[in-house]
């Protein structure tokens, strides 16, 4: 191709034709280059739209689709006869969309004159408001009263962006009777949030905090559902997309508890601090389990007020403490039947062997005397009388002969010194005196004198009412230990048949000779029904034979200042206990009553147990099992 038209510019003659041809070439080259560039652009489009299509589709969906969780409905809790104990009831709450409210502080002020707004409400609202978008609806007040709903409805026009929203809230119709046992749900707080699976709890506001509500949280909660919503760039939901996974409601739980028996047991205490546990020895089902005093669990569901909480927390009789599983008691004489059985089972005594009680027992070669309850002693007593009259000397000498190792080994069969494993959180282990325990906790050897007083349930002994109830029902069931439990069956929705809750089969009995067991039973029958029994007269006018044992334990050492101070108030001096089962021949209910303060087990605790038996009788007569 020519590079120039002519070498000498002065001789130049414009060659129009050439110039046009030249232009044509350039135009074609330009067009080809442009076509190539656009083709390259097209290839880039193809790369994005075809090769990486799947990736970008996913990211586009990620942009626009927001998964919204739908909280499942919490399972209900019933007693063994279908009495509703924990319900989900419709309630109304006030919600505010900050974006739609023009002047929020002013609006809240005005709103406060229509519905009561506490500082707690406002604090929570403001905390939530900071964490959410302005177009999201934020709850302000829960559980509006009918009055408040009516008042708000008439003045609603004054409050743009404020609305009444229905929701389900937990309610405990028999609040106080089951406050400790069923416990309560509460708002998920920071500590809960760390433990819970964020996915399955997305959308759930409440979680079981105590009792059955906590222990069976997984069963009660159910499975979260989902719906997909299309959101815009501000995360504002625009529409609900068709694919939706419905939530699966939590399982309903049927307790082993009989609500009527529970009520009767709670009433029987007449407000005195203590606990009672009733177990069916045939299967370990807990029929009643009360801790007195109690509180209203409904207060906790939507956040208890600071004042209410402080009142409960600081009350001297500790209503929040579940005395059935965490109340520590000294068992006193209630351990005697178990020790007596150990004496005959281990071959240290025969039932007919007698011991002479003269009012005081001495370890051979030692000065110190261990007293009987009766001045001058009970005279010569065999096993039956030793239990019936609660003769200390018999058990001092038996424990001494047995020695601490065999003592703790034998008593361990009844489950003392460790949690029973009942389906509740926060159970105390108690203390079964043993060499190992003392070494671990006091770094000291076990002294013979401590073995002697362990024989009457004093010294290092600590039990909880549920532990003693387990020991008693094991004894009643002739040495077969059924783990105490609270759940009878679960149910997948109200129309499904209840499924029995799985239960571990018990181990075979550890008692070798049933004649030994019968001797102990005779002693416990005599304690209630014999002329010399410590709780004589308790079984009058009861159709079945009651077998039992009283316990009266020192609350304080006699040298304590406190003991001196309450000397004059006999009723405050002791922790008093009573254990009994009936019918004696074929036990169907075993009851333990523990009172934090009282005069004697027979005087204070036994009548409560009798009332429980009476209530139970009405139930079985009424056809309930």
């Amino acid at each position: 191709m020519r590079r120039e038209y002519t070498s000498d510019p002065r001789l130049r003659l414009r060659n129009v034709r050439d110039e046009a041809a030249h232009f044509r070439v350039r135009a074609i080259v330009g067009f080809v280059l442009i076509a190539a560039c656009l083709a390259a652009l097209g290839v880039r489009f193809a790369f994005l739209q075809i090769s990486r299509h799947a990736e970008f589709t996913a990211r586009s969906d990620q942009n626009r689709i927001s998964v919204r969780s739908i909280a499942p409905t919490r399972g209900l809790i019933y007693d063994r006869n279908g009495v509703l104990l924990a319900d989900n009831v419709a309630a109304f709450r006030l919600e505010v969309v900050p974006e739609q409210a023009k002047d929020l502080p002013h609006l809240l002020d005005e709103l406060g004159s229509v519905v009561a707004l506490s500082d707690d409400d406002l604090d929570r609202f403001n905390a939530l408001r900071r964490a959410k978008h302005a177009f999201e609806s934020i709850p302000l007040r829960f559980k509006l009263s009918e009055d408040e709903i009516a008042r708000f409805s008439t003045e609603r026009w004054r409050f743009p962006g404020v609305d009444i929203v229905p929701y389900l809230t937990r309610a405990y119709p028999r609040g106080e009777d089951f406050a400790h046992l069923i416990g309560y749900v509460g708002r998920i707080d920071v500590a809960d949030a760390e433990k819970l699976d964020a996915r399955s709890y997305a959308g759930t506001t409440h979680v079981g905090k105590t009792g059955i509500e906590r222990y069976y949280e997984d069963e009660l909660h159910g499975e979260v559902g989902y719906e997909k919503v299309e959101v815009n760039v501000d995360k504002r939901p625009l529409r609900v997309l068709p694919d939706r996974v419905a939530p699966k409601p939590g399982k309903n739980i049927y307790l082993t508890i009989d609500a009527r028996l529970q009520r009767a047991a709670a009433d029987a205490f007449e407000g005195r601090a203590g606990a009672a546990v009733a177990i069916d020895p045939r299967n370990g089902e807990v029929l009643a389990m009360v801790s007195v005093p109690s509180f209203d669990p409904n207060l906790f569901v939507n956040g208890i007020g600071k004042i209410d909480y402080a009142t409960l927390l600081n009350a001297p009789d500790k209503p929040l403490l579940d005395r059935t599983i965490a109340g520590n008691f000294t068992p006193g004489s209630t351990v005697k039947p178990y020790l007596a059985l150990g004496g005959v089972e281990l071959g240290l005594r025969r039932p007919e062997d007698t011991v002479l009680s003269v009012g005081e027992f001495h370890i051979p070669g030692q000065e110190r005397g261990y007293r009987d309850d009766k001045k001058g002693g009970h005279g010569r007593v065999d096993l039956v009388q030793a239990i019936a009259q609660s003769v200390n000397t018999y058990f001092y000498s038996l424990a001494y002969d047995m020695g601490i190792d065999r003592f703790s080994g034998w008593m361990g069969h009844f489950g003392f010194g460790k949690p029973t494993g009942i389906d509740l959180n926060g159970e105390s282990a108690g203390v079964l005196p043993s060499q190992a325990w003392k070494r671990a906790h006091m770094r000291q050897p076990f002294y013979p004198g401590e073995t002697v007083i362990a024989g009457i349930g004093q010294g290092y002994w600590v039990i909880t009412p549920i532990q003693l109830a387990q020991a008693l029902s094991t004894l009643a069931a002739k040495g077969v230990r059924h783990a105490p439990h609270l759940v009878h069956s679960t149910q997948d929705g109200l129309n499904a048949a209840p499924e029995p809750f799985p239960d571990n089969p018990p181990e075979p009995t550890f008692i070798h000779n049933m004649a030994n067991w019968s001797a102990v039973l005779q002693g416990m029958i005599a304690a209630i029904n014999g002329p010399t029994g410590t709780a004589r007269g308790l079984g009058e006018n009861f159709p079945y034979t009651i077998a039992g044992k009283t316990g009266t334990a020192e609350r304080f050492s006699r040298n304590d200042e406190e003991w001196q101070n309450i000397m004059s108030v006999a009723v405050e001096r002791h922790e008093v206990l009573f254990e009994a089962f009936t019918p004696a021949e074929d036990p169907r209910i075993a009851v333990v009553v523990a009172l934090q303060a009282g005069h004697t087990g027979a005087h204070d605790a036994a009548p409560i147990a009798r009332k429980i038996f009476d209530a139970w009788l009405k139930d079985i007569d009424g056809g309930h099992g």
Binding site: F23, R24, Q49, R52, N63, N232
Partner: protein, 372 residues
């Protein structure tokens, strides 16, 4: 005043409208493109009739301007060229001194309407270069080249200073294309390209911080996905999720749900790609290529050097819009504010583009009577 002037002007206007001397293939392509643009805008604006009406008014205004200009003979245009160029550069200087606009001084308030002199330059600069080369010996030598470079650089620098990099690029491109079409020797082109590559770091030095950020983001958008990289990422997602056939008209979620910023203006191509897919994109690119090709054909048949160079550079500059915008929304090129011609919402670019096509029409109407 001449008493004859008014009736003559009237007669000319009537003729212009009654017997427009238009190139029908080009007109058809433009109509198709404008229709496609209005449809895309209607979807991208989430069915905002008001916005579509506005754009239609601009198309009508631009169309009228195109008809008028098509009746102006190229020789007359050529005679006016130095004045028009001088006036537009003066306006640019006026903008630099007393202009107004968000962040960038691009606008001149004329009372009745705001006016962007840089749009005018898009037309007057190729006219000026063509005018200058028309009187010179071709192909151009170094001296001619330097003179042309000065003609380009003065308005381009003024525009870049506003700052409006996109328009500056377009203005420079139209001048450069004129030189290319004037037959600049390949070896000279080679030397220029090498020099330009060497001067690139210098350009970085003169850039504004926001322009540098755009370039950084172009190189690695994921480094700041919520900040400066957001535009590129969301645009690529819109394009990529379109697939072969697209999500369908008004079913593009990226724009409807506002993930894609500026989805009616600079990023409208992403909306189009999302809704019409690769097939739609290819059709649209083919339409653009057709318009460029038709423009070059008109240029090749033009009567004189001035017309050839002007028509050629207007056509090729049109391609630059498409390339820069398409490259931007697919992450191939950095984010530069260049609209997609006749589809992006925005008045001045539509009007100036159509005015440019008016020039093409005029050149077509006054083509060589006997081709070859």
């Amino acid at each position: 005043m001449n008493a004859q002037a008014l009736p003559r002007l009237q007669a000319w206007l009537v003729r212009a409208l009654r017997e427009p001397r238009l190139d029908l293939p080009l007109l058809g392509a433009l109509l198709l493109l404008a229709t496609c643009g209005l449809m895309t805008l209607y979807s991208a604006s989430d069915l905002d009739r008001h916005l579509v009406l506005n754009q239609t008014m601009r198309f009508l205004l631009g169309g009228a301007l195109m008809l008028l200009i098509s009746r102006v003979p190229p020789t007359m245009l050529r005679n006016w060229t130095p004045w028009l160029y001088g006036a537009s550069v003066l306006l640019l200087i006026a903008v630099a001194v007393l202009g107004q606009g968000r962040g960038a001084n691009r606008w001149l308030n004329l009372g009745i309407m705001r006016f962007q002199p840089s749009e005018l330059v898009k037309l007057t600069l190729p006219m000026m270069v063509a005018w200058y080369l028309h009187a010179r010996e071709l192909p151009p030598r170094w001296l001619t080249l330097i003179a042309v470079a000065v003609l380009i650089a003065v308005p381009a620098l003024l525009i870049a200073k506003q700052p409006d990099l996109g328009t500056a690029v377009l203005v420079i491109a139209s001048g450069v294309f004129a030189i290319f079409l004037a037959g600049l020797a390949w070896w000279r082109i080679g030397i220029l390209l090498v020099t330009a590559a060497g001067a690139a770091p210098l350009l970085w030095h003169f850039m504004h911080e926001y322009q540098r950020n755009r370039l950084r983001m172009f190189l690695d958008p994921e480094s700041d996905p919520l900040g400066n990289g957001w535009h590129i990422i969301q645009s690529e997602i819109a394009v990529g999720s379109g697939g072969w056939l697209g999500k369908g008209w008004h079913h593009g979620t990226q724009s409807r749900l506002e993930f894609l910023p500026e989805h009616t203006t600079d990023f409208v191509f992403a909306v189009f790609s999302e809704e019409w897919g690769l097939l739609g994109v290819i059709a649209l690119l083919a339409l653009y290529l057709f318009i460029v090709g038709r423009g070059l054909m008109i240029a090749a048949n033009a009567r004189d050097t001035y017309s050839r160079l002007l028509a050629g550079s207007i056509s090729m500059a049109f391609f630059v819009y498409v390339m820069v915008n398409g490259g931007m929304i697919t992450g191939l090129l950095p984010v530069v504010g260049v609209p997609l011609p006749l589809i992006s919402y925005g008045g001045t670019s539509a009007v100036s583009l159509l005015a440019g096509f008016g020039v093409l029409m005029s050149i077509h109407a006054h083509r060589k009577l006997m081709a070859r």
